[in-house]
Each structure stands twice: as C-alpha cells, then as structure tokens.
Symmetry: C2
Subunit: 207 residues, 2 copies
DNA sequence: TTAATTCTTGATCGGATGGTCAAGTCCGGT
DNA sequence: ACCGGACTTGACCATCCGATCAAGAATTAA
C-alpha cells in the first residue's frame, strides 16, 4: 500500500535517476545558464530520454531549482564554520582556504550561482534575503567584535565578506579569463591561495 | 558618388540608429545574456522593428559582438593609466577607485563581460589572449618591479590584478546579492571604496 | 503467476524566435 | 519635381525546444 495519507514512496529507481539527472543538470546549467541549457542536452548527458526527465521533474525549471537547492546546502558550510572563539586571522585564513578549495573542486557550483545571481537571482531571492542574510549578519557581527577588540584592523565586515567571496570565486567563475592571461600552471590555485591569504592577513593584521 | 572603391558611406540615419540599437542591446544582453535576449526585445526597447534591426546587423550575434567591442574600448582605460612612474600605493588606490566608479556608473557593461566570460568567452577569446594579455603582462611587470624595489609588499602581480578586478566588479555583477544582504544605503559604494582601498593599501604597504 | 504500479519512450503539438522577402516609404542630390 | 538609393515593415518561413500523451516495458507486491 502506498500510504493512505497519499505519501508517495521513493523507489530505488527514482533515487538513482534523480541523482543522475541532477549531476548532468549541474554540468549543463553551469555551462550554458538556464535559458541556454536544453532538456535534451541534460537527457543525453545522463543517458535518459527527454520525456523521462520530464517524468521525474515536471518542468525544466523544476530541474534547475532542484540543482540549485541541492548545491546550496554545502556551498555555505565554510562560512558557517567561522569560529567566533578562534583566533581572528587564523579563522579568516582558514575561511579563504576552504573557499579556494571549493573553487577548485567544484567550479561548476560556483558558476551556477554566479549565473543565477548575475541574472537577478529569480529563483533564490527568498534564500538570499532569508537564511543567507541571517548567516552573513551573524558572522559580520563576529568580525565587528574582533575589530572592536583590536584583534583585527577596523573594516566594514560585510565588505570584507564580499571581498573574500569575490576573490576566491573569481578563479571558478572567470577561469577562462584567468587561463587566457596566465596559462595553466599546475600550481595555479596554490599560488592564488598564497597571494590571497597574505593579502588579506596583512591587510587585516592590527597595527 | 559613393566611392569607386566601394566604400559604403555612413549616413546620418545609420549612425543614429546603430547608436540606438547598441544602447538597447547593452541593456538587454546584460540582463538576459546572449541566449536569453531576443531580437524583438532589443527592437522594442529602441522603438524599431525587428526586420529593421536585422537590416543594420545581419545576425543577432553581430549585434552582440558590436556591443562587446563598443564597450571593451573604455573598459580597460583605468588599467592603461596605471603609471609606472607614480607612487605605487597611490597608483593602486587610484586604480581601485576608478574601477569602483565604473562598477557604479556602468554596471551593465560589467555584467555583459561577466556573462560572456562565465560562458567561456566564445566571442572574445582572441581579445583575451591578445591585447588584454599584453596589457596585463605589461602592468604586472610594473607591479613586480615595485615589489622588487621594496615599495610594495611582495605579491604575485597577476593575482593582485585579479583580486582588484574581482572585488570591484563584484558590486556590479552581484549587486542583487549585495542589496539582498545589506539593503541599499545611499553611501554603499563609498563605503565599499573605503573598505577596499584600506584593505589593499594595508595589505600591500611594505613593512 | 498475476495484477497493479512504476517506469520509459516514439510521436507529436504549440509557441517562441532568428531570419527572409517583397513591397512599400522616405530622403538627398540634381 | 524627379529619380535612385537608402530605409522600413507586415507577412512569412524554418527551426528549435519545452511539454504532452498514449502505449508499451519493466518492476514490484501478493
């Protein structure tokens, strides 16, 4: 019995195929954007037929939203783990390192968000103004306290957070430009990490 | 006579309408990207008919490329004016200021490029690997010399340039997110400028 | 095995959109 | 005024693409 309450059971095949679809969708959407991507592309990439995709997700937009939400979860973990009880400069260094690592390991997720926000974030405005703002304001307060205690050079915390986001995600979002300008040295991201951490640490170290 | 050499004369109406089209196209392409924009949207925005647009630009892509090139010209002026003979920290401060001003005054141009590069820069790879790389390498050499002379904390110049681009353009490209997180205070960009200049100057000032 | 349910897809529809064309209107030079 | 070229556009075409549906295949529960 599939539940008198009407709860649709999740079958083995469902879980498998939804996973397949979301993986393929991340690749396609991150490369071409929502409008630029086609359901057929995603279907081909994961070896399913187009009508089959639309059996699991009724509309193209549903796939897109699902990918966004699926990816949003871990995207903010690094910021969440910024420890108010830690040493300010160490915490910020650690934060930059994890953001750089995410840019290297999951550039597609970065580009997916970049594209979404660039186009006005129609699918995630609620998220931006809700959970994200809450988290950011909370961490901004921590940074502000560090500054007040003289453990960090005074800086407007939100702008510091923006600066860290911008610089680290730049290597994922604009990697075509980066590679056009400095090629593809094997230690590119290590050099980037070193440059950014030193820049921020020295820029933030109290006199 | 319109020239025996076949040189097509540019009439008054041509100049006027091409200008109209390019202005409308910048708005539309920067909002929706190449795929997302429609010729009809551009036509409506500038009060011309769709076939009329395609009389001046044969294909949609021609409009897009024309807008890109038209905008690329002034986009790099600030970097060009980085003066090797100037005081390093002053020059970099001035550069950040002009980049911030461009983000405020012409965010559409910034978003147009961001979108283009995000999607692999199919229309401007030659430009990136050619003229842009030349300019950037030249200025990187200047920065490297400043560091060697002890007038700047040692830093990998290309990554410094990336960091300045990323942080300043962030306010144009991701302004939806910025406003979702800190609202729209009238002095937003002034505060941003202050935060960024202090961060970079202190991060780069030699010990 | 059997029957119900879930899964899969070829065929197709309908709207959107880039691009064409023929027929007309406007403008500038003489 | 007149003429040739520049400009403008309504109607149209071809294609792409999201979405639907009916019919059949596979899976599961009994």
């Amino acid at each position: 019995m599939s539940g008198t309450g009407g709860t649709p059971r999740t079958t083995r095949i469902q879980a498998l195929n939804k996973e397949l679809i979301l993986n393929a969708a991340l690749e396609v959407f991150s490369s071409y954007g929502f409008r630029g991507a086609t359901v057929d592309q995603i279907a081909t990439k994961c070896g399913l037929s187009k009508p089959n995709l639309l059996y699991y997700f009724r509309r193209k937009e549903d796939i897109y939203v699902a990918v966004l939400e699926h990816t949003l979860q871990d995207w903010l973990d690094p910021l969440r783990s910024l420890d108010p009880a830690g040493e300010p400069l160490e915490e910020i260094t650690r934060y930059i390192r994890s953001k750089i690592r995410m840019s290297r390991e999951n550039p597609k997720a970065s580009r997916l968000f970049a594209n979404e926000i660039l186009h006005g974030a129609p699918a995630i405005t609620d998220y931006l103004k809700g959970p994200l703002k809450l988290l950011v304001d909370e961490k901004a307060a921590v940074i502000r306290r560090w500054s007040a205690e003289g453990r960090l050079r005074p800086i407007e915390p939100h702008h510091l957070i923006f600066a860290i986001w911008a610089t680290t995600q730049h290597y994922a979002d604009f990697d075509v430009q980066v590679h056009a300008l400095i090629g593809t040295p094997p230690d590119l991201m290590d050099t980037a990490e070193a440059a950014l951490t030193s820049l921020f640490v020295e820029g933030l170290r109290p006199r």
